[in-house]
Symmetry: C2
Subunit: 346 residues, 2 copies
C-alpha cells in the first residue's frame, strides 16, 4: 500500500518472466486486447497477483496510458449520481481501469478548473455528468481525451452522449397528475447556471415539457414555476413560495427527488398533508423515494444502466472507436402514495 | 478547456515575463509561500488569468508537485461525506489545490487498489475517510505521501487523525433514551469489514458505547444489536429483525442517519408509529434528518469542520510540518420529534 514508493517496483518484465510469457503478452492482457486466450489471461493474472504488480505506472510509462477514467460531477450530494457510479464501477470491474472523481461545483469556472485538473492528471477518458460547459467547450476537451457526456441532450460528432429521455419522463408525470383530476399543478425547477445551451439541459427540458403538456390540456393559465435548485433546501424554498399562493396548487411536480423531499417538509410545516391536500411527484427514483414513509411518485431513469453504458462507450473509444454514439434511455413512471385524485380525502 | 493538449502550453516563464517578475516569484505565489506581498500576488495572478496559465503540469515538472489532494471514501452515497467535502473544498478554495476523489468500496482489497491509484496519480496529499486498512497499511501510505485519516480513532506518529468523539456522541443518544424512560433500547450497527483494529472504528465505538451505557444502567439484559450496514437497506433489514422480537423494543438507536431512514420505513410498514410506538435516533445530522416530516433525533458532528480541519492539516504537512496531530471534535445531541417518553401517547 503505497510502499512501492520505497520498495523496488515490480516491473512488467518481472511479470512476464514469472508467467513465462513475453512482455507483449502481458501488455495485451493488461489492456484487455483482442486475441488473448483465456489460459494466457489466467496465467498472466496469476503472476500479477503473486508478485503484487501494479500496472498503472509501468503501463503509463510504456504506452502512455494511465488506466484512469476521470468522472466530473457537480457535487457528490445527489444520490442519483451514486447509482450512476455503481453502474460505471460494475462495468469497469473486469478491467484495469480505475475511476477518479472530481467535483465541478455549480458554476462554469469551477467546472472548467476541474476538467483541467482531470486532463492534467492524464486520464485516459472522461465521463462528464451534467456538465455546465458549452458544447464547444466540451468538444475541445473531447478532441484531446475520449469523452462521454451524461445528461445533456446534445449530439456531438466528437463525444458520445448518454441520457434519459427527460421529455418523456416529465410528460409521464404531468399526464399522470392531470389524469388524477389536478389542474393547479405547480413545478419546482432549477435556475440555469450553464453556458449558452439551456435547451439541451435536463432541468430545462423537464420544465419546458411541464409547460407544454399543461398548455396542451388548456391549463396554460395554471402554470406556476418556482426555480431554485435540485436540492432539499431548494425544494423547501420553492414549495414555500408555491404554498403562499392563493388558491393553493393541488399538485407539485418537483424536477428531482431531492427537491421533492424538501417540498414534503414545507407541506408538512404548512399543516397540510401529502397526498390529502397536495399531491407530490419527483424525478430520479432515489432509494429514499421508495421508503415506505416517503413513498414518492417519481420517474425511474435507471442510473445503473446509464453508468454501465457510459463506461462501455468509453472503453469502446479507448479501443479505437471514433464514430459518435447518442444513447437515449426511456424512463418509466413509478406511482406511489404521494399522488392521489384531486380533492380526494386523505 | 483541454485545448492545451493541442495548443502550445503557457509556461511559468511566460507568466514571469508577462508579470515582469522572476520565475521564483511566480512559483512562490503558486504555492502560497510566506513572504509574498499582496501586490506581487495580485500581479502574478493577473498574468496567470490573462495568459490562461495552468499551474498543475508545469509546476509538477518543475518541483514535483501536482497540486492535487486525493480523497479516498468508501462510496459517495453517504450524504455526511458531502458535508465533509464541502468543508474541504472551502478550505482549499484560496489555494491552487484541487481535490480528486476515489471510491474504495466495502472491502480492503478494493480500497487498497484505490489508494494505489491515488499514489500512482502522484497526489501531493491524501485524505482517507473511514478507511478499512490496518494502521500499518495506512502508515505505509503516509510514509510516502502526507496523509490525514478521518474517522478511525487511532493516533499515529506518521499521519494526522481527525475524528468526532464517537464515544461521547453514542453516550449522548443512549443516555437521552434512558432519561425518557426507555429500557428496551435496541441498536443498529455495521458489520466489521476492516483489517485487524475494530476497536478504532467509529461503528465499533458507537456499538461498544451503547453496550457500556446500557450495562451501567443495569440494562445489560435488554441489549439487542442487529448488525447490517449504515445504509437505508441495512437499516431496513436490521429494524425488521428487531421488530420481530417479543417484546418489542421501545426505542432504536441507529448508528447512522441513513440506517435510521431505513428503520423508519420498516416501523411504518409494521403498522407502528415513531415516536408513538418506537422512539428512533440516528447519528450524523444529515440534511434529511432535519426535514420537518422526518425530524430525526440525531448526533451532530459538524462534517464541514471536520473537512476544513482535514484540509488545513494537509496544507500544513505540505508546508513542512511532520509532527502528527490528533484532532477530536465533541459532538452535540439534536433532539427532535422522533424520540419521546416511553409509553407516551403518539
Amino acid at each position: 500500500m503505497g510502499g512501492a514508493v520505497r520498495r523496488r517496483r515490480v516491473t512488467i518484465a518481472d511479470v512476464a518472466s514469472h508467467a513465462q510469457v513475453s512482455t507483449t503478452a502481458v501488455s495485451k492482457v493488461l489492456r484487455n486486447a483482442y486475441g488473448v486466450s483465456a489460459a494466457m489471461r489466467d496465467r498472466v493474472r496469476a503472476a500479477i497477483d503473486e508478485l503484487g504488480y501494479r500496472p498503472h505506472n509501468a503501463a503509463r510509462a510504456m504506452r502512455g496510458r494511465t488506466f484512469t477514467i476521470g468522472v466530473l460531477l457537480p457535487h457528490i450530494n445527489n444520490p442519483f449520481f451514486g447509482e450512476i457510479l455503481d453502474g460505471l464501477m460494475e462495468q469497469l470491474g473486469g478491467t484495469d481501469y480505475q475511476a477518479i472523481l472530481i467535483q465541478g461545483g455549480r458554476d462554469p469556472q469551477g467546472e472548467h478548473r476541474a476538467i483541467d485538473a482531470l486532463v492534467d492528471r492524464q486520464v485516459d477518458g472522461i465521463l462528464m455528468i451534467a456538465p455546465l460547459g458549452s458544447k464547444a467547450e466540451l468538444e475541445e476537451v473531447a478532441a484531446g481525451t475520449p469523452t462521454v457526456v451524461l445528461g445533456p441532450h446534445e449530439k456531438s460528432a466528437v463525444y458520445d452522449s448518454v441520457h434519459d429521455d427527460d421529455e418523456a419522463g416529465a410528460e409521464l408525470v404531468v399526464e399522470h397528475l392531470i389524469a388524477l383530476g389536478h389542474r393547479r399543478i405547480a413545478h419546482i425547477g432549477q435556475r440555469d447556471a450553464s453556458r449558452g445551451r439551456p435547451a439541451a439541459l435536463l432541468h430545462t427540458i423537464r420544465e419546458r415539457t411541464y409547460r407544454r403538456v399543461m398548455a396542451e390540456h388548456g391549463l396554460a393559465g395554471e402554470i406556476a414555476v418556482a426555480a431554485t435548485s435540485y436540492t432539499e433546501a431548494g425544494g423547501h424554498a420553492a414549495a414555500r413560495e408555491l404554498l403562499a399562493r392563493d388558491p393553493l396548487p393541488t399538485a407539485i411536480f418537483a424536477g428531482a427527488d431531492l427537491a421533492a423531499f424538501g417540498a414534503l417538509a414545507a407541506v408538512y410545516e404548512a399543516g397540510l398533508t401529502v397526498p390529502g391536500d397536495i399531491s407530490l411527484a419527483g424525478y430520479d427514483n432515489t432509494r429514499m423515494a421508495g421508503l415506505a414513509h416517503i413513498s414518492l411518485t417519481t420517474v425511474d431513469q435507471d442510473g445503473a444502466i446509464l453508468g454501465r453504458t457510459a463506461a462501455r462507450l468509453l472503453l469502446e473509444r479507448l479501443a479505437g472507436r471514433s464514430a459518435a454514439v447518442d444513447f437515449s434511455l426511456s424512463p418509466t413512471l413509478i406511482v406511489r402514495r404521494s399522488t392521489a385524485r384531486s380533492g380526494s380525502p386523505c
